[in-house]
Symmetry: C2
């Protein structure tokens, strides 16, 4: 085993724990939230600290310190005295290339004993969840440890009290918005359907009635477009808390990117590991949804639950069960909820992809004759529910009045005003290249695969290329004739267009045609 | 987003799932058992497959296929059309530099639904554990998923039936040794103490009585020496199953490295994740220990359980509980067990490190007057228990007769014969450099920190440098005078010697001296 002696490591007295320093090198490895550090197997720090692959190590700079997971590497990959850092580690330490990082054993993470307590069957109180969630947000947990916490909360399910505690703690560790108004509205959709972009329309309608709706939305993680991606093609969404406040005070509503404000940051971390495990325990789903809304200062929530074979919720019964647990917990925080079960059998509207979905939104607000009716109706149902919950209209009148608010132009006017307040309205970009996918035979459309249509849009470049995606020309039940366009692929360059078309030609039944 | 077109990717028809090929590059990243693949964020395969960091991906060559966890990287780290592989991925695929690897979405891992079943409170039968453990051994699970399985088995503890199933399945997925003899002996120590190297002595004594003891041992993982590391300084230990059989048929016993034969390979994987979580559920500990022994064909087992404040088992009561669960499960497999609770308060013998421990073993077997009495006694107690379990001696006579077997030279003769049969006896190497650590004051030794003594030996280079480690000169209660050597650091080069001495000078109470 060879030894490396970087500067300042000559004398034994320099070899105390706090003095094992390495030059930081940005590896550019995206490891989601988990901070990774790469050190040579023959690195003197690994030796002197007794570190091996998967060791948790403390990284210190003058300003910051984080805990990272160690991967040892062959000498070829790093120079003597270098430590490679993943993006998460690099950014959290706020490093400059070549900066020195001190490396040592971290103190034991105390809250892991709370996780073990939970594993061994003891319920946790606010304090227990608080220490765990704080440490997770501080990056003190490896994904393997987060996985253990999530599993323990599913194997021995959270009771209502624990769900309340977890929700409260997830709110407390993040930023929080507060409003003077008595009523603050919000909206959430479980398990996105492609093109289900009702939020900008809902906010415009509700705000047009002078009701407060400070909406924060996410960018796409695995889908071709998130509401924030779509809205960004029409106006800036990267608003800080002060800006959100100004927009909402002026126009009653906003559609901002949630990532710019740290509302329930723990949720963003837990969700990534839950996805890897493909377990969503009810307690965690409830805490996840509610913590974001409570942190946003909402007290009236409409939850859109698309039910369908390819949607997250499969049956109306499942939707009911989820609804009751959710409203019970929400009520503890003074948040009243209404669940709207909707059809999840096919994409909503025509566009799939940020700009294409934005044009659907605009056509509805602008009352274009070509506006997709399903998108308009879904938005009116959700906005109507909010109008009713706010007591602004009589029960049963909500959807009708929401539609009126579109028809008389108030929603469009309000939406323009919101865009201006957020930094100026924009025109969604058009794709440089488009190519239709044609029907091979006569018949009718008997199924549309949500998952693979979304995949096709991502192949075309969405959401990376804002203009890219898929424009649908048919819906379930439509008759087809050979050669008729079923949908059109939009892309910014030939490469992406070809990948999408190649995938389509290899998957001819994404839009399945049955003989008459 | 730019697109890369490696050879053979020109036409859309080449873009089907099975045809996304990249050139393999060995990254030299040690990720323990988890296979990792690194791909550029702008890689056409990530785009066309819709892959993102932490996606599980299927890697195929003509010969092999594995599932790996994806980390996306900045373009700087890899060339166009390259995929970087961790050591685990590289070796499992048996790749040559520059070979093409086909990358696609893996089929869902069915057994994960068994894990979810277990999480949601359903017990598993042989079939459930079999599918899970087979997939884990095949590398189909990420560490995050293994963590979830381990946690589920702790949060909703394995009952005896499940523990039996898990043990059986762990045996079945690995190789297995069988013996004609009616009685096959084995020995295991829970939570190693530094220098607790009784195995070579125990095997020599037992084999000298003509009893069968095909012992497989591990190399050090976090300790300064494993039994295999120590034995290797005296004879080859890298024996395959045929060789183990030859040695045991000739000499009744062997001391081989378990890593060369795949006895309970699942155990090697689960243990790494359990360590990261710092949870050892009783059920898994029992399955872990017993699966190795059953796979080795043993039917009589002595378990050495050192109890002490820095040992794995803290109290005699805990040892009792563990003992009863362990013997209940063992009996199902026709394996009878005896637990020996021993003192875990300080290192055993004098040497800590492969060659230094080997010299302790040799001095005991050679009846040198300087032989460490504690090591000799521990070995005799364990060997004696085995002699009694085998019915070779009367109950109560075992330890005495074991000592006689050393004293009359039969153990030493047998040990030499075993070493010859394993490939030839060797002389443990001497370190090139040594330096004593001296007592600072008069008094008596009132504590020795097992953990930090082990750390000191690793600093000096153990087990990487076989000759490196620490030689103890004092034991608890010994009187000291200023300047008297407490221990001596052995190293192969000045660098390692200095790191060890530097650590010692920064940690002066590893061997604590209290005033008289």
């Amino acid at each position: 085993m060879t030894m490396n002696h970087p500067k300042g490591m000559q004398t034994p007295i320099d070899l105390g724990l706090a003095h094992s320093s390495l030059r930081a090198r940005r590896m550019g490895i995206h490891s989601l939230q988990e901070a990774l550090v790469f050190m040579r197997t023959d690195c003197h720090v690994c030796l002197s600290e007794g570190l091996s692959s998967h060791s948790r190590v403390l990284l210190k700079t003058d300003g910051h310190e984080i805990i990272a997971t160690l991967y040892q590497v062959r000498p070829e990959l790093l120079a003597d005295g270098e430590a490679g850092l993943s993006e998460a580690a690099w950014l959290r330490l706020g490093l400059a290339e070549g900066a020195m990082v001190r490396i040592s054993h971290p103190q034991p993470v105390d809250s892991l004993s709370d996780v073990r307590k939970r594993i061994y069957g003891h319920r946790l109180d606010d304090g227990g969840f608080r220490s765990i969630i704080s440490d997770i947000v501080a990056g003190a947990y490896s994904d393997v440890q987060i996985s253990s916490f999530i599993t323990a909360c599913a194997a021995f399910p959270l009771d209502e009290g624990e769900t309340v505690s977890l929700t409260r703690v997830m709110v407390d560790v993040g930023e929080r918005l507060t409003w003077d108004n008595a009523i603050v509205l919000d909206k959430h959709s479980v398990g996105g359907l492609p093109g289900n972009r009702t939020t900008p329309i809902v906010v415009a309608i509700v705000a047009a009635h002078g009701l407060t709706m400070p909406k924060t939305s996410s960018r796409a993680i695995t889908s071709p477009a998130g509401t924030a991606d779509t809205m960004e093609t029409m106006a800036p969404v990267d608003l800080d808390i002060a800006m959100i406040r100004r927009v909402v005070e002026k126009e009653s509503g906003c559609i901002a990117w949630g990532g710019a404000v740290r509302l329930s940051p723990a949720d963003d971390i837990l969700i990534q590991v839950e996805r890897a495990l493909d377990i969503d325990s009810e307690g965690q789903l409830v805490a996840s949804v509610l913590s974001k809304k409570i942190a946003a200062g909402s007290n009236r929530l409409v939850l859109d639950v698309p039910v369908g074979s390819t949607a997250k919720v499969r049956t109306a019964q499942d939707a009911k069960v989820l609804a009751s647990r959710l409203s019970d917990v929400a009520s503890v925080f003074g948040l009243s909820t209404m669940i709207i079960v909707s059809d999840g059998s096919q994409p909503v509207g025509r566009g799939i992809g940020p700009a294409l979905e934005a044009r659907d939104v605009l056509s509805v607000l602008q009352r274009s004759p070509a506006a997709p009716e399903d998108l308009r109706q879904r938005a009116c149902v959700l906005a109507g529910a909010l109008l009713e919950m706010a007591g602004a209209v009589q029960t049963g009148q909500g959807a009708f009045i929401a539609a009126q608010t579109i028809d008389d132009g108030r929603a469009w006017k309000k939406f323009q005003a919101i865009c201006e307040a957020q930094g100026g309205m924009r025109t969604p970009p058009m794709a440089k290249q488009t190519q239709p996918i044609l029907a091979s035979k006569a018949g009718y459309v008997d199924s549309i695969d949500n998952r693979r249509i979304a995949r096709l849009a991502k192949l075309a470049g969405a959401p990376g290329s804002k203009a890219a995606g898929v424009q649908m020309h048919v819906r379930l039940g439509d008759k087809t004739i050979p050669g008729q366009p079923l949908c059109t692929v939009h892309a910014d360059n030939t490469g992406e267009l070809n990948y999408a078309l190649g995938y389509a030609s290899a998957n001819t039944n994404i839009i399945r045609i049955a003989p008459k």
